[in-house]
Amino acid sequence: MHWVIPCLVAAGCLIPALGRWWNGRVPLIASAVPAAIAAVSIWQQSLLAAGEVVQFHAPWVPSAGIAWAFRLDPLGNLFVGLIAGIGTAVVAYSAAAYSGDARLPRLHGALFVFMAAMLGIATADDLVVLFLCWELTTVSSFLLVGFDHQTEAARVAARRALLVTATGGLALLTGFVAISVVAGTTSISTIVASGDLLRAHAAYPWILGCILAGAFAKSAQFPLHFWLPGAMKAPTPISAYLHSATMVKAGVFLLARFSPVLGGTDAWFAIFVGIGATTMVLGATAAVAQDDLKRLLAYSTLSVLGLLTLLLGLGTPIAARAFVVTWMAHALYKATLFLIAGNIDHATGTRSLTALRGLRGALPATAAAGIIAAVSMGGAPPLFGFLAKETAYEAVFEAPRWAGLLGSLTVASAVCLVFAALRSGVQPFWDSGRGATPVLRALPIPMQAAPVALGTLGLVAGMLVGPAERFWIAPAALAINQSAAPTGLSLWHGFTPILAASAATLALGALVFTNRARVVPWVGRFAPWVATGPSAIWDAGWRVLLQGARWQTSQLQNGSPRRYVATTLAAALAVIAVGLPWGTIVGAVHEIAPFEIVALAAGLLVMGGSLITLRAPTPLAAVAALGAVGVGVSLVFLVYSAPDLALTQLVVEVLTVVLFALVVRLLPRAKTQTMGSHRPSAIVLATIGGVLMAGLSLLASQPGLLEPTSAYFELNSVALAHGRNIVNVILVDFRSLDTLGEIVVLTVAALGAVSLLARRRATSTGGIAP
């Protein structure tokens, strides 16, 4: 896996460039890549189930203990199989669906990068690697959702999905940092094996909160669920891949991964069960009211994601098993249904459920796949979805707390899902009373084959429960919950209350379906709140943030240079004011360094010179005063043992005065003589600044306040650099790079000045600027 991921990312980056070269065609053969990964994953699973561990470890940032580490365990490898398997179908499907479209290489490029990132999430054994992949899925899914970037709606949806999941990503990063600090390592396998370490730590609530926020945003849990239906603006194969099978599962996968060390507490139970059940019920009821096929599927996906969260929260071994089964079954049937929605859209040009009917004659293969997937989603034997519902019922009915409430909510949601399954997978193909929807375009073979293949997988998995349990379900559940659930899953396990509930669910769902003309409008009155309520709050939050930013910008950056200078100075002075130890400064006032008559003269020269600039009658007089200040500074250097500085300062000062005197003549004269008094705000800022700087200099000149760093230079000046003038040695030897920078600044300034002057001369003589 360690080399597969970078290769896939590289392939993803190359495909758009290669695609242009191939005249916009990405061959169907591209799907061989994920197919090969899926095959390896299936082969590996038997070894992993036997207890073998596959891992790779290469140092990345050894000083921080960060490694380029990957580890295949049964849970992660199951995810790899789903990502690669469904990825195969999606790559083939989109190659056919967008055949001849110039944007296909871009789609496939982002798809491959996304796939690499997902594989990374499934297999990473280092928090940093995991987070990197996590953010890579966010970015690549932004590109995929916003694929149709010429439409406003797609851009809005992509931006919202990005903001929600990226904000969650920040929370996740905080959680990861906290975990690595508490656990002292970034290795996930070490952390997961650390037992009660995290749960017992004082920071546990914060860690849990951060990880939950990140995972729930990714897995679209209430109240952050609204980005998912919006993301249906993505191309349908992308929705099938990102928004049902893989990316939204990354959040619950992450939670499952960390449940051995974070789970099992009261807070975990309450939050997971509360949010999971809310998402499950809201998603299921909202799905009933949808007319757009894809939105219906999106809301039913929300419902299942809620159920998965709920199952993780229960924390029992059978709940872990139900989690794995539901996870697998949902990925298979929901991807199928999305591809079918894509087929219907492609063939008829509409996704409206009121318009679609009687398509079974025109699209027989699609209809067959649709029915298989709908039966699985509804949870009827012999499909895998039936097993998912049975195990979920079993886990919820035996919940440690609130079993009655949770059980009835789960059954109610399942009834809605039966309805949604019939409506999305059966109704478009049957119900031909008033004549079938006309088919406008034929479907290419891969588009027909992909949903059939995925649907059949669901059927096969349902028939072969035994091997599926032995190799996939039981080992993966063991990675979530260390105590094993009783084995022996089968489609038929006698007349039990669970079977009765299952049968009742199917019957009720069918009953609702036959009365849909009355039910749908009634539910439709509540559904909009689910869609728009939290998203309106979110949007309002962003509006406030943007308005605040605009206000702040208009205040701080209003285009007046004076305001910029004042703001910058005020901010810098505030930092100094807060940081200064005033007690030490007051003490330093009494301390007098050796009195020197020349120093007194120099200090008065500096002070007086700067004061005179304020009252200078002409600009030239101000320049003279400025020169006096410079000479004063030079004298200070001379008295206090810095002859080199004194010399340099004197030379530079002479040059400065000459330059100023030259420039005075050339500047516009309008305001120089007619300036009014200084502004009060400027006087306040100047006074505060002066006091602060005086205090800072008193503090800085204190002997022994801090250990000087010069000892090294003093000791090594002769020994290493063979120079007796230590200041010179520092400049040309110990810190010669600084001097190089200084020379660069000088050169750049000189070049800039010369070119400005040349340009000025050219324009003033009427010539053309060089």
């Binding site: 050796p594 304020l614 305001k671």
Partner: protein, 115 residues
């Protein structure tokens, strides 16, 4: 003596701020020059004030005499003086060109919606 120098630094800095906030091209240049002086002195006094003890190593000795001035702030200030001069010279030329283009000394007339 350090109190006097502190007063000189504070005064120079305060007046530099006044000039910078004056809103005229000419005063901006004066402020920049004064700001440079104040900053250099501030860094310089950070090394302490040693009289007649430059950081030189006598012939035959391996280290400067005890109590010699701290060489590091001096090196920093030396670099700073040169850089400040370069910036100031560039600013002077820039001001001349800007004054040519806008033909006014009023900085607020150089763009922006403020008065």
């Amino acid at each position: 003596m350090n109190v006097l120098l502190a007063l000189a630094i504070g005064t120079t800095f305060g007046i530099a701020v006044l000039w910078l906030l004056r809103g005229s091209l000419w005063s901006l240049l004066l402020g920049l020059a004064l700001l440079g002086h104040a900053s250099h002195l501030l860094i310089f006094v950070g090394g302490g004030l040693a009289v007649a003890a430059p950081p030189l190593v006598a012939e035959g000795a391996l280290a400067p005499a005890a109590g010699a001035a701290d060489p590091l702030p001096q090196a920093l200030v030396l670099t700073a003086i040169v850089i400040a001069f370069a910036i100031l010279a560039f600013a002077l030329v820039l001001a001349v060109c800007a004054g040519d283009a806008a033909n006014t000394d009023d900085l607020d007339a150089y763009g922006g919606e403020s008065q």
